[in-house]
Symmetry: C2
């Protein structure tokens, strides 16, 4: 339990400079209960340890639009959206109505419902290269299945992936260190994003052995700036997969339907063989999808894939509604416009307070940090101060603009960030 109390109490020690620290009494009480009955208290990507322990809420209570309330009654303008799924805002009335109508029919069935077919038809109609689709619950269900499909198609073992790219917590790709065997990654080889020579070298080193190249549309690592792909890298990826007979697999889990309404490959010019979607697919309802080309459909049918709840119609109804709204309301354009407004305003505020900020990533999924901050301590302090002012931003992970954000919401967020930057500047000056 000692590590738990460290996490809970360090806020008092390290963030005492915050002018108006929030009350997290209920969050901390729940976390103490959690730590007794859950390994790590809170596990996975939403562990407080990955954000700013002690300075952020640990438990959510309710979401509405682009805001959420924590268990202590604090409310936040939310720039994470559940780490991506909530693209249209919490509890979007159209999406929820569609999901509710399907839910009233039942949950797990002995057979799929017609929504399975309608959703596969919707995705293949929308995504230019897609001739077929399958569905899972988690993104990792299908990133993992996709490498098996690539192996089945090619009869080869090797998968090339970007160093530091996240594709789930399966042994072949987890960023964790526990419970792994050397065999888990015997045929997984990594290269630096945008490094054409390194990618060429990997293909050359494993002639006739590469089944697939797993990419993300842009590189969105944790604890680092995002990187957009260079045209040279995209061209090389397309060319090398074609020349070597390897499948180009696009992990569009995080970006899909946020950067464009028809898959992120169209934004950057990739020609994928398989693509995996998840987060923005159903506005928070549990669903992922993998799409592919007709030439690989027979091989795909030979890689067994299932789960107990995969015939649940409610998330499929939510996805059909979400995809229709994304197209109808030009959501990617709106996210980009809102994101540009927000990032420009945020950078200007940094300059005003003498705290240079660095923005990276596309405007719909920005990441902003303090410049010259290799330890991320200043960025963490900025995020802590932002949370204290009612804006939830993350120090080590890209953010997600919500379609529920109006110009007024962004202006309010910027006003709050103005105060947060003032707090941080005063703290930095007091140490200088």
């Amino acid at each position: 339990m000692s590590s738990v109390f460290f996490v809970v109490n360090q806020s008092v020690a390290s963030r005492s400079w915050l002018t108006a620290p929030l009350n997290f009494t209920q969050s901390h009480a729940l976390f103490r209960r959690a730590a007794a009955v859950i390994p790590g208290g809170i596990y996975g990507h939403t562990t407080p340890a990955a954000t700013v322990p002690g300075a952020v809420p640990y438990f959510a209570a309710e979401g509405f639009g682009c805001r959420y309330r924590d268990v202590d009654g604090n409310t936040f303008i939310d720039f994470m959206g559940g780490y991506g799924p909530i693209v249209l805002g919490y509890h979007h009335p159209e999406v929820e109505a569609a999901a509710d109508a399907a839910r009233r029919l039942g949950a797990a069935f002995n057979h799929p419902t017609s929504l399975l077919v309608e959703l596969a038809e919707a995705l293949t109609a929308r995504i230019d290269f897609a001739d077929w689709a399958v569905f899972g619950k988690n993104g990792a269900d299908l990133t993992t299945w996709s490498i098996m499909v690539a192996r089945e198609v090619t009869g080869r073992p090797k998968i090339l992936k970007i160093a530091g790219a996240y594709h789930g917590t399966q042994a072949w790709c987890t960023p964790g260190h526990g419970g792994l065997l050397p065999e888990d990654r015997a045929h997984i080889h990594e290269f630096a994003f945008n490094d054409v020579a390194a990618l060429e070298a990997l293909f050359a080193r494993h002639p006739g052995a590469v089944a697939g190249l797993m990419l993300t549309p842009f590189h969105h690592p944790a604890y680092a700036d995002s990187q957009l792909p260079t045209p040279e890298f995209v061209a090389a990826a397309n060319r090398l997969c074609r020349e070597h007979g390897a499948l180009l697999i696009l992990d569009d889990v995080r970006c899909g339907f946020r950067l464009s309404s028809d898959g992120s490959h169209t934004v950057y010019g990739y020609t994928p063989d398989l693509a995996v979607y998840c987060k923005a697919l159903a506005n928070g309802h549990p669903l992922s999808a993998c799409v592919g080309r007709a030439v690989h459909q027979a091989a795909a049918s030979r890689v067994f894939l299932t789960g107990s709840y995969w015939n649940d119609p409610a998330p499929m109804a939510a996805a059909l509604s979400t995809l229709a709204i994304i197209e109808r309301d030009k959501i990617p354009e709106k996210l980009a416009s809102t994101g540009r407004h927000f990032v420009a305003g945020f950078l200007a505020l940094g300059a005003k307070h003498g705290i240079p900020l660095v923005a990276s990533g596309p405007p719909a999924m920005p990441y902003v940090r303090v410049a010259d901050d290799p330890s991320f301590m200043r960025t963490q302090n900025l995020c802590a101060a932002a949370v204290a002012e009612g804006v939830f931003i993350h120090p080590h992970h890209n953010w997600f603009i919500s379609a529920a954000m109006t110009d007024a919401d962004i202006d309010e967020a910027l006003q709050r960030l103005d105060r947060a930057l003032a707090t941080l500047a005063a703290d930095l000056n007091s140490r200088a």
Copy 2:
């Protein structure tokens, strides 16, 4: 497409002896659409190819209590319950009210809700050996995580499992054949269920190398009778894990909370270190759980585990409600009593019609087939005739009694099965 039309059309050829074949026009039309845009048309465990192609519905429309309606308007008394999840009946009002109330708060959040803690506390209070819990979506999320935890705890690679036991579609355990590498199963070793000597030999062959023994409470393979564990096997499994310092992992995904309200290990006498629950946990809402002992909690916290939708409160609310109802209403006792009534009646009908039947498995999860039927053709014909009479039973997979089944439902099912057996007997006699 040729394989698709084979599946759709063979019903006409092979089941023409059915006195009242059902209208599956909409099922078949949807399947033709599905086959164009989905590998295999319908993939996974609910593929028609695993049941009786042409003689069963392919698409569901609505569930209510222990019955469901297909897309052609045919209704069935359901002995599969979505292959297990629907333990209390479709759309149970209390469970759905709890899930709806949580759903209105939001879906994917930046943090868990208090329901995460409440559910972990409920499971650790209910399950005697459990000191902690984690949650996923699919059973396979956590059977796969559990072997990583066993490896992290022990620093050893080997997992022993029952030949023919299903633990999901991950590469280490899938019953499929596509996309696999030798490395995927380099440290997975199988033994025949209830074979104490074989299990002892595996431990002896890999001294100091076995991380975990993965068991199911009883053996419920597809395409075979179920087998209950012998007391000798249970004692040997407990003893060998203790002697060799290996973790006993119970895959209670299919049985959990159906055979007892506190985990199936108490029914048969296992002393697990880890247990995985899923199907009956939340009456169809997507949730799985793994529980373990305090001594392994730190190691478990080192095996990274997460998914995009794992902070969704609605399935956790559904699980709290489902677990409370299972205990309050003594559901396992009710399922066993209903199952005994059903199986005894079914076997008596078989004798009446001169078609000896073989029943296996616990009464709450029975499997009944035609005796002396190594090809399963007579069992398939029996299931086809049962479906034609409005009773959905499966020729190759154990069944699931529903708590929504009354004595009147069972009596009605038996009357329908009486007619199905008469049809089958007439067909067999006409060929004799």
